[in-house]
């Protein structure tokens, strides 16, 4: 083999090596993108399946306060009505008696 042919052969081999490097780079790039897609998919799946955000403590406390306030108002109303009725019972009973005994002649 002449020197020229030998060099051309080396050049062809160099071309082949370059092709192989590009092929490997493309494979690596595809793998890189695939890994990114997998990670992205995992991130979205985790977000989709994660339990709902926890209740914010402040609104929860406001609600409990409101419930307690309504309950207290109600208890106070019950007490007040019981006292009123206890006091007014003495007026209501004679009226019932009077009405029952009032015969329409």
């Amino acid at each position: 083999m002449s020197i020229e042919i030998e060099e051309l052969t080396r050049l062809v081999e160099e071309e082949k090596s370059a092709e192989e490097k590009l092929k490997q780079a493309r494979i690596k790039a595809e793998e890189m993108i695939k890994r990114a897609r997998d990670e992205a998919s995992k991130t979205i799946t985790e977000a989709s399946s994660s339990p709902s955000a926890q209740s914010q403590s402040q609104p929860e406390r406001d609600f409990e306060d409101e419930k307690q306030r309504i309950e207290q108002t109600h208890r106070s109303r019950i007490d007040s009505l019981n006292k009123l009725a206890q006091k007014n019972l003495a007026r209501a009973v004679p009226i019932i008696v009077k009405e029952v005994t009032r015969v329409g002649l």
């Binding site: 790039a29 890994r35 955000a53 009973v93 009226i95 019932i96 009405e99 029952v100």
Partner: protein, 209 residues
Amino acid sequence: MSIQEIKSQIMKETESEVQDILNKAEIESKRIIEDAKKKAELLLEEKKQKKAKEELAEERAELAILRIGHKSELVKLKSQWLDRAFEEASKRLYEMAKDADSTTYKQFVTGLVVEGALNMKGSEFTIQADSDAADLIKKNLKTISKMISDSKKAEVDLRLDSNPITSVGVIVQSADSRQYYNNTLEARLADVRHRLSGDLYSMLFKEGE
């Protein structure tokens, strides 16, 4: 250009192209991950808002149920006080009925018979009464008949049923038993409750005075 120079050029271009492929892949990967993170954040925010809305709706429903429960309790309480007033009144009325010799009782029983007869058509009536009332009516049958006759401006025939009723008071029946007027204490208490419960509620729970 020498072969060596061509080789060097090929190596340089290859290196550059490899680097370019990898850089582009890296940029694309970062974009994919960033997009996913943004989408995940959006999803979480939507979930959070949905949860907040649900919690608010649940809280409102709970408060509404609490208020309904309270209203129901108030209605029950008022009804219990009305029951108590009627129980007390009933106790007094039955006490009064025990004292068969009192003027109040005599007037009451007479009034029950007269009222019953006046509220019915016809001129012949049969009276059913409890034993104490029956004794009283028997003694005053003529007087009571006259009172009814005077009010109706027509002669009436009043008869006393020999079988006493268990309820306190009287039941006036027409001669053909088609009409009757229930004037027992039980019936009168029920009537007063029906007619006056609104006024009595107002009175029981009236403030001031």
